[in-house]
């Protein structure tokens, strides 16, 4: 009887001295892998111009219909992005989004990228709609130069083929 108990407890005691595999979540955060698909970000070029050209391909590719893009024309005194148009409204409904990454695949200018932030809770259903101001990175955090196809204004930027940036 005692022998059986000790035999069973041997496993228990063996585990007391091993390192636990769990992490204390809110205090300790598990780092995500490089390819992790989390919250979206709208990127900029190195000079601060927005990468998004308002082509709505992400909205077309989205299986969950979570993205709304309303484009507007760029004018010489109000040049938000390279090319003819920019996204005047860019909204992602985080309650609909399934984080499949198809918007990232569809984007011709690599404007929308799924980044590593995964804590996306909110108290109100209305807060689930992430607007352009929330998604856009700060102006000094751009990267890369605009490709020639976008900077030559007389050339139409559409149809948006996949450009390797």
């Amino acid at each position: 009887m005692i022998g059986q108990l000790l035999k069973g407890l041997r496993t228990t005691f063996g585990y007391i001295f091993t390192q636990p595999v769990t992490v204390q979540y809110p205090e300790v955060k598990r780092p995500v892998r490089e390819r992790f698909r989390g919250r979206h970000e709208l990127k900029r070029f190195a000079d601060g111009k927005e990468r998004c050209i308002g082509c709505s391909l992400c909205a077309a590719a989205c299986p969950a219909d979570a993205i709304l893009v309303v484009p507007a024309e760029n004018t010489p005194d109000h040049q938000v992005s390279y090319g003819e148009r920019y996204a005047a409204t860019y909204e992602i409904n985080m309650l609909r989004c399934i984080f499949c990454g198809y918007c990232e695949d569809a984007c011709p200018t690599n404007a929308i990228v799924l980044e590593h932030q995964y804590e996306l809770s909110f108290y109100d259903r209305r807060d689930s709609i992430y607007t352009k101001e929330m998604l856009l990175v700060p102006e000094d955090q751009g990267h890369g130069d605009a490709p020639p196809i976008l900077t030559q204004l007389e050339r139409r930027p559409s149809p948006p083929a996949q450009i390797d940036l």
């Binding site: 892998r33 390819r35 590719a61 299986p63």
Partner: protein, 369 residues
């Protein structure tokens, strides 16, 4: 002589042991079950109808959500169906990557399923925690390859979306090295365990002929002693190149299904080792560069099936020549394995219902779709 009266009791839909929103109307005579009627549909979310309104590629992330334990296996079945419909060739390397992912899925599914089964027997969290610990390592591999732990969305028509990250194979080798110790420990803890023997041996017997008549598949069918595995019966992908055995049970009770799953984890490890050996020689990249993702298949229909961890998973697609499927039908193993539940439970005690249900290993997302 005491007179007994039949009584109808209701288990579920909100019940911790029903693995989701699943309802059973049980007729009992004393403690003995005389009849059991499964009621499902509480998690119906119109999967097939939604799929008919999406393009073929847009359905890929939706298939993840059928059986959310095994998203990679669902992806493979769907990708195979569309590839057969359109006629896309898959490079050899991509096939090996697919097999690797699906076999990892099988290990994590069985590790979890056994843990939940033991949990249902009232042995609480120990084995479940062991299973989840191993599952976590595989999910971490999935995250590094596909970008998500559960809803991987890793497969595309003609291959997989990205090649493996550089540290994937070393980490996989490490995992496979440590795996026998885990499986042996799990088996040692459970095989001769008094609680498991009492609750599982001779419980929930599904005889051979009944299993065939209900067309169940997967570990439930093999537990009943029928050595049927789609990987052997109709080798798809590159499964004809691997050497592995199909474990079978003898009686068809809960205990046999448990043993079949343990052995399948070992066989999956064997396959994975052969994949690692053969992968460097495989031709082609991770995806066929000529394969268009925005497919418009010719008019026709196709049925493609794989051996998912839960059984035979098939996709039936009908194309009318447009970019969206005209008909999209899923042959879900969980759903079909669940149908003989009434016959499996008849004659046993009420407390055995949750154990028998746990031994079938269902995911309600796949049952109700």
């Amino acid at each position: 002589m005491l007179k007994t009266e039949e009584l109808q009791i209701n288990i579920g839909p909100q019940h911790p042991s029903t693995h989701g929103v699943f309802r059973m109307i049980v007729t009992v005579d004393g403690e003995t079950i005389t009849d059991l009627k499964p009621v499902f549909g509480y998690l119906h979310r119109n999967h097939e109808q939604i799929a008919e309104q999406n393009t073929y590629l847009q359905n890929m992330p939706y298939t993840d959500r059928l059986d959310y334990f095994n998203s990679m296996a669902n992806n493979q079945a769907y990708a195979m169906a569309v590839e057969q419909l359109v006629g896309i060739e898959v490079p050899e390397r991509a096939e090996y990557l697919r097999v690797m992912m699906v076999e990892l899925t099988r290990i994590l599914n069985h590790a979890g399923a056994l843990g939940f089964l033991i949990n249902d027997m009232g042995m609480w969290q120990t084995q479940l925690a062991f299973g989840m610990r191993e599952r976590e390592k595989i999910l971490d591999l999935f995250e590094s390859a596909s970008g998500a732990r559960l809803m991987c969305n890793y497969f595309r028509f003609g291959g997989v979306v990205r090649d493996l990250p550089p540290d994937f194979i070393p980490r996989l080798k490490e995992l496979l090295q440590a795996m026998p110790a885990f499986v042996d420990e799990l088996e040692r803890l459970l095989r001769e365990n008094e609680i498991l023997m009492q609750r599982a041996e001779g419980i929930g017997i599904l005889p051979r002929d009944l299993a065939l008549a209900y067309s169940v598949s997967g570990p439930v069918l093999r537990g009943s002693g029928i050595p049927y595995d789609v990987r052997k019966a109709e080798p798809y992908s590159v499964y004809d190149r691997f050497d592995f055995d199909v474990p079978v049970g003898t009686v068809g009770d809960v205990y046999d299904r448990f043993l079949v799953r343990i052995e399948e984890m070992r066989q999956s490890r064997r396959i994975l080792q052969q994949v690692i050996e053969q992968l460097p020689d495989a031709q082609g990249g991770h995806i066929n560069p000529k394969a268009r993702q925005n497919v418009r298949p010719p008019v026709g229909d196709v049925y493609a099936r794989i051996e998912s961890p839960k059984g035979e998973l098939g996709f039936y697609l009908v194309s009318d020549g447009s970019g969206k499927p005209y008909r999209y039908k899923v042959r879900a193993p969980s759903f079909i394995n669940l149908t003989p539940l009434g016959d499996m439970c008849r004659g046993y005690k009420v407390a055995d219902v949750v154990v028998i249900l746990g031994s079938i290993d269902i995911v309600m997302g796949e049952v109700d779709r």
